[in-house]
Each structure stands twice: as structure tokens, then as C-alpha cells.
Symmetry: C2
Subunit: 212 residues, 2 copies
């Protein structure tokens, strides 16, 4: 997967893989020993993860894996609506990165057949990152990618990976088809409805799990 051995990437990988659970306290000395780095180096990594929203830092109480609240989920979906829909709506009709979207759907289908839901989730994230990549904006992609990673923590928090992701693979494909045949505007409208449904499902899972 990610072979970049930078400390931040190693930590990010473990976070989005769910090895470090949302809300879990991250002890500096323990993690420093585990990753075989000094506390100071680890703290530098913590700062960037904090800035990316993957980790919550409370002064004199240390850092914990971010544990998105219902309000956070709502906030994240606001971002998704604005960014994804706007980008898709104004994308040129035959953007080269459409193949990235296709590839993500293919990967998701493959993993779904194997019932590997964690990787289905990863492929789904890649699909939406691909959508935003139609903007040709490095900054928008970067910011959006951080928000999606945070959303993945929300999924992990309520532990409903399987049935949350599966139904949306087909809708991803549908978005691509409409984009190709009816154009960006129609695809954006479709994606907007898609996101609304997705948000409702996640909030439902939160309510069932009794989370705040």
C-alpha cells in the first residue's frame, strides 16, 4: 500500500485501518517506543495529524484518535456537499481523471466480492477523492482528503463498515455513467442526492449506537 515510511504516513495508515480506535488515548512514551522514535519526533507528527483532524489534542491531556461527534459528521457532510458537488458540476465533460473514478469503482467491486469491507471503504474514499481531483486543484484535493479520512474514523467509531459501503458502489458507477452521458450538471445533482442518503445512513448508525 503506502510505502512512504514517514512517521506521519505510518500513523495515518494505522488510523484509517482502525488499528488505533477512535477516542483511544495515544500515549507519547508508549507510541514513541512502539515506532522506535523519540518523543519529540512523535510530537511533531502529532501536530500535523492534529491539523488534519485525525487526532485531537487537549493541552496537558495529550492526544487521542479523533472521535467525530454527530455534529462533526454533519459538518463533514456539509463540506462534502459543497466541494464534491461544485467540483463535479463545473468539471469539463471529458476529464482525464474520470478513469480514476472508474478504477475506484472496479476496485470496490472486486473487494466487495471478497467481502473485504475495509478495502471497500478505502476504494470508496478513493472514488470521492477522484471526483474532487476533477477540480485540478492540489489544495482542494488535499483538504478534502483530510476530511474524508476524518469521516472514515466516524465509520470506524460506529462499526458498520459492511452494510454502509456496499449499497453505494452501484451509485458510484451511476454517477460516472450520468457524468458521461448527461454531463456534469446532472451528475452533480445525482451526487448531491447520493450524499444526502449517505449522511442519513451514517447519522442513523450513530443514533443506533447511542453515540453523541
Amino acid at each position: 500500500m503506502n510505502h512512504d515510511s514517514s512517521l506521519v504516513n505510518r500513523l495515518t495508515d494505522r488510523l484509517i485501518a482502525g488499528e488505533l480506535r477512535p477516542g483511544e488515548r495515544l500515549s507519547e512514551t508508549a507510541l514513541a517506543k512502539e515506532f522506535d522514535v523519540s518523543r519529540n519526533t512523535l510530537r511533531e507528527a502529532f501536530r500535523v495529524l492534529g491539523e488534519q483532524g485525525l487526532v485531537t489534542h487537549i493541552p496537558h491531556r495529550g492526544v487521542s484518535v479523533a472521535s467525530p461527534s454527530t455534529a462533526d459528521v454533519v459538518d463533514i457532510y456539509r463540506v462534502r456537499h459543497h466541494v464534491e458537488c461544485s467540483v463535479l458540476e463545473h468539471a469539463p465533460r471529458n476529464h482525464p481523471n474520470a478513469v480514476r473514478m472508474e478504477a475506484a469503482v472496479d476496485a470496490a467491486e472486486k473487494f466487495a466480492a471478497e467481502e473485504n469491507w475495509l478495502e471497500v471503504g478505502t476504494a470508496n474514499m478513493e472514488f470521492h477523492n477522484a471526483v474532487v481531483s476533477l477540480s485540478d486543484s492540489r489544495r482542494l484535493m488535499q483538504s478534502f482528503s483530510n476530511v474524508l479520512a476524518e469521516l472514515r474514523l466516524a465509520f470506524l467509531k460506529v462499526e458498520v463498515l459492511d452494510f454502509l459501503h456496499a449499497p453505494f458502489i452501484g451509485r458510484n458507477q451511476e454517477v460516472i455513467d450520468v457524468y458521461r452521458t448527461d454531463g456534469p450538471a446532472a451528475a452533480a445533482t445525482l451526487l448531491g442526492a447520493y450524499l444526502g442518503d449517505s449522511e442519513r445512513q451514517v447519522l442513523g448508525a450513530y443514533a443506533r449506537a447511542g453515540q453523541d
Copy 2:
């Protein structure tokens, strides 16, 4: 969020005030002594500034104040178009934060009368942050605020604060008026044209200054 560091804030203030010029190299030992903190603490602050795009970090070569290229400016305006226009277009018709936009325009006019162009620029930034605040999304506001701060470094780089900002105060007011009378959609269209003009001016300044 990052409360540990008034240090980050102190550095940010000096950056957007132009005391640390774009492209300027930031020596760890020198700055650590100047702010009377240790190198390690300063490095932690550098990480968050780097993540915010205010500072560029090159391994083994240290950090410099970000010096946005023409490509960066284009990228930043892509973000502005997507975020600002989408937020304004979908904003409710009478959002409370409209008063924030008004206040920013008033402040800009006051500073313009005093020919205090640096503060005019700050007020202008505040106007656009206020626009994005209509989204009611903490994350969108935070990301956007970072991008705007980076754009301010672009302004500082080509040193044309005065005539770049002055003409747009009236257009800010116009956006508010259209938002109130004709509604969000019309205001968004107007803002889009506004941003296009603004981008052209900045790129023109870059070309004149012979910057990349």
C-alpha cells in the same frame, strides 16, 4: 484547537503582517532565540504552519515563508471559486452572518479612508471568510481561512497591496446587496465574476513583477 501555541499565532501574525517576507528562510536557531523557545518547540509550530501552507518545508533544507508561484495562485483561485460560490449560492436567504460581511466592508472602507492598505487587506480577507461562514461548517471555514492566508502571502510577494484591494471594496458591498435583494444564486454569480477579475489582477501583478 491548537491552544498549546500562542507560538503558532505569533508566527502567523508576523507572516500575514509581512514582517517575514515570502521566500525568506527561517533559521531554527535564530527564530528559536528570537521567540525565546527551544528548537523542538519551534519545530512543532513549523509543522502546523507547514500543514496550513504558510510555510514550505524542504527536508534537510529547513523551512521558508511560503512564496506562492503563479501556479499556486491559480490553484488558490480554483478553491475560492468552488468554495465561496458554492457556499453563497446555497446559503439561506437571511443568514445571520450577513452582518459579519457588512462589518468587514465597513471596516475596509474605514481603513481605505486612512489609506491603511494592510488593514484594508485584512478586512477584505475577513469579508470572504464571512462569506464562507454562511456554510455553517467549521471545517470549511478553517480550510478556507488557511487558503486565504496563503493568498495574502502572494499579495505580499508582489507588493501591490493598495491598488489591488481598493477597487474591490465596492464590489463586496454589491455582493451583499444582491444577496439581500435578488437572493443567493444571483449573488453567487456576481461573486464568481468578481473572483475572475481578482484573479486576473493578481496574475497581472505577477507577470509585471516577473515572478514565476
